[in-house]
């Protein structure tokens, strides 16, 4: 496989890229030159200014096309690859039954002031997302979806009373890094409330998380945008049932 690639417009290796941005200056010749200078500094050279439009009094919006001189080195890319098998619902149920000999207990919530339950509902609710059923559909999973604006103490208490094997937390609102603060607060509370080894698996999900930040946030796994219930179920089985927690 090629290890070096460039963006593709209509010819291999042309490096063509499209960007748009706003500069806080009115639209005139100077502004257009400024936009091209920025494009050059971003590595777009030669660049074409294809659209410029003034917004309000002192701003101009630009669309720029150009060839980017940077190269992408695929062998140096770092991502979290899926390190577990993707299983069907039936396989998940079978493994839980054989290995755990009880239902696998999952507690989910949106914590903090975040009221966006879209993510946790997509993963947990029977209805699921994009035609894929949520975790409630899995016979061998026992699911409690606590909904929105759950406090961390409420979540810890529920995890205890439900004897949760895993706790799922969804965070959508990211203003002032609320999603990171909330997650740290949550993981610290669980570390405090449970002895090591007895703590449920902590999983957070949301569209703006960096999947590499598990250590920093004190959680076991981060799921980013586009995650499906099946991936989450497969991960749970991989960690809880197979490792015999």
């Amino acid at each position: 496989m090629k290890t070096i690639v460039r963006p593709y417009g209509d010819t291999t290796g042309d490096g063509m890229t499209q960007v748009s941005f706003t500069l806080p200056i009115p639209h005139d010749k100077l502004a257009e030159g400024a936009a091209l200078q920025l494009a050059a500094k971003m590595g777009l050279e030669p660049a074409m200014l294809v659209h410029a439009k003034q917004i309000g009094d002192g701003f101009t919006f630009f669309v720029v096309y150009g060839s980017v001189r940077h190269l992408v080195e695929l062998d140096k890319v770092q991502v979290v690859q899926r390190d577990f098998d993707l299983l069907s619902a039936k396989e998940v149920n079978t493994i839980v039954k054989q290995r755990l000999r009880r239902k696998l207990s999952v507690v989910g919530a949106c914590i903090g002031t975040d009221a966006h339950t879209v993510g946790i509902d997509a993963i947990l609710n029977l209805k699921g997302i994009a035609g894929e059923k949520g975790l409630e559909y899995y016979r061998e999973l026992k699911v409690l979806n606590m909904g929105a604006q759950v406090t961390v103490p409420e979540l810890v208490a529920a995890a205890r009373s439900e004897k949760a094997d895993a706790v799922l937390v969804s965070q959508v609102v990211t203003q002032r890094d609320a999603h990171l603060h909330n997650t740290r607060e949550m993981s610290a509370a669980f570390r405090e409330a449970f002895p090591a080894g007895k703590r449920p698996l902590l999983i957070v999900g949301g569209p703006r998380f960096d999947e590499m930040m598990t250590q920093e946030l004190g959680v076991d796994r981060i799921f980013g945008r586009g995650t499906t219930p099946r991936e989450v179920a497969s991960y749970l089985v991989h960690r809880v049932a197979r490792e015999g927690r």
Binding site: I55, G56, V118, Q149
Partner: protein
């Protein structure tokens, strides 16, 4: 009428909504809440907060509740004690310090307290009346927007002093209505913060001072632009009656005010919500404020096709509760949304059918048309196209208020350029086919008509079930937006009290006098 709806079916739907809603109204009429009582004191002129930021109205109501309970209303104990202290705010301060013991006046004392309370609250209502007249004058002077739908834009920086230039820029760019989104979590605060605020999460706190500052700024914009720019905020959450009151006192023009939103999406106790909602709607009715209902939210959790009839049911309930509270049709910004999965075949025709159904069920209401959010994926190019189709349905079906969709929905809070592109999208559609609704008549018996009839019939069936089951049980069972909310649970229940014999609320007395 374009859908050829059966008038008997329509009147049956309304009759069922009335029967489903009436027991809830009866309940609301026989209960009060801490927030209703605090609203009464706000109307009587109490402002300000202690050094911890807890408003004096909270201090006062809490103290009265501790001394004599809430079930008689706070007006009589407070105005009875006032005879001794002379000044309401001073009384609140003394009460907070624990140096007042409230009691329920009897006989002549009660009559005197009643008279004082009514006079003080009457002053607040007079201010609301003056604001309404002032709005009428300004609309006459500057004019209404030239086009329908009115263009509704959101600002939300968290800092009122950042919001103001953004709102003025948005008005200059074409917004007819500015909504200042509230800080996430305000709905669960059991008090209204005080003063101008510069810190908020994903929005700006609703406070009386923030209301005043923004309304003054938009009055400036209205003069500059030659059209009256309206201001919107949110009468929802645990302080719904107080926020409605503050809106009336500061001449806000529209308020989000849904009968069930707080229950379903904020887990606020159903009884608390219905009691608070009725009072807040009576204030809105008096203040000439247009309410916006929140049916769009159901479709963000439930499927927009399968659950289409739950939107219709909620619209009919919202209409019933609104009329009962004294709101007129022109004040009903009944909500609905463009949330059908765009991958579904004929999704656009389904959207048209649903939007037209709302239009024809509520011909005299300025419908509030909400843009796609659930199926905005981060593909901003597709999002812009989807918003274009949303705008097209809006103009084709004569929507009254159009919340401008952002192609960066679910990506970032809108950038300056996102808002500009979104407005360009709206302007293109309104300019290219603003009059198309005149030509657009769905084929008799065709897909759109049939779909509308189906949704209406499903709504009627569901309403009949709700009547049998009672609305509170239906909410407990998860009928709306798949949320299950039993009447004995949820936040704010401890702030509800059943009326005791002799309950007195001067605001309700004045508002219901007409």
């Amino acid at each position: 009428m374009k859908l050829n709806l059966d008038p008997l079916a329509v009147s049956r739907a309304r009759e069922l909504a009335r029967r489903a809603g009436q027991p809830v109204v009866d309940m609301a009429r026989s209960h009060t809440t801490v927030s209703v009582e605090r609203a009464v004191l706000r109307l009587a002129g109490i402002t300000g907060a202690d050094t911890d930021g807890i408003p004096w109205v909270n201090r006062l109501v809490d103290q009265v509740r501790d001394d004599v309970g809430l079930g008689h209303g706070v007006a009589l104990p407070v105005f009875h004690a006032l005879a001794e202290f002379g000044d309401l705010t001073l009384l609140a301060q003394k009460a907070a310090a624990g140096s007042v013991r409230f009691e329920l006046p009897q006989g002549k004392d009660a009559t005197a307290a009643r008279k004082l309370a009514k006079r003080a609250v009457g002053q607040g209502i007079k201010t609301i009346d003056r604001n309404r007249a002032q709005r009428d004058r300004l609309v006459k002077r500057h004019g209404d927007p030239k086009q329908r739908p009115w263009i509704y834009l959101i600002v939300a920086t968290g800092d009122i002093h950042e919001d103001i230039p953004q709102a003025q820029a948005a008005a200059r760019a074409g917004a007819d209505v500015i909504a200042v989104i509230r800080s996430t979590g305000q709905s669960l605060l059991d008090y209204v913060p005080e003063g101008a605020t510069r810190e908020g999460f994903a929005g700006t706190y609703a406070t009386q001072e923030n209301f005043r500052l923004m309304r003054a700024a938009l009055d400036e914009s209205s003069r500059e632009l030659g059209r009256y720019v309206r201001l919107t905020n949110y009468a929802s959450g645990l302080c719904m009656p107080e926020i409605a009151t503050l809106a009336g006192l500061q001449r806000l023009d529209m308020m989000l005010n849904d009968s069930m939103y707080g229950i379903l999406f904020r887990d606020i106790n159903p009884i608390r919500t219905f009691v608070d909602q009725r009072f807040s709607r009576q204030i809105h009715a008096r203040a000439g404020i247009i309410i916006n209902t929140g049916e769009d939210n159901y479709l963000t959790t439930a499927d927009a096709v399968e659950a289409a009839h739950t939107v219709t049911v909620s619209q009919l309930l919202n209409e019933f509760f609104a009329h009962e509270a004294g709101l007129q049709d022109w004040q009903l910004g009944i909500g609905h949304a463009f949330e059908i999965n765009p991958d579904l075949p004929e999704s656009f025709r389904l959207e048209l059918a649903h939007a037209l159904l709302a239009r024809e069920l509520f011909p005299d209401a300025p419908l509030k048309w909400m843009p796609p959010t659930k199926h905005m994926t981060g593909d901003v190019f597709r999002g812009n196209l989807l918003d274009g189709f949303f705008n097209l349905v809006g103009t084709l079906t004569g929507q009254g208020i159009l919340l401008v969709g952002m192609m960066t929905e679910a990506v970032v809070t809108p950038w300056l350029s996102d808002r500009d592109i979104a407005l360009q999208n709206v302007r293109y559609v309104l300019n290219a086919c603003g009059g198309l609704h005149e030509d657009f008549v769905p084929a008799p018996g065709g897909f759109i008509q049939q779909r509308a009839h189906t949704v209406l019939n499903e709504a009627i069936d569901l309403l009949a079930e709700i009547v049998d089951d009672t609305l509170l049980n239906a909410i407990a069972d998860g009928t709306f937006g798949i949320m299950k909310r039993p009447a004995n649970r949820g936040k704010g229940l401890d702030g509800v009290a059943k009326h005791e014999p002799g309950y007195y609320n001067p605001a309700t007395e004045i508002l219901e006098a007409r």
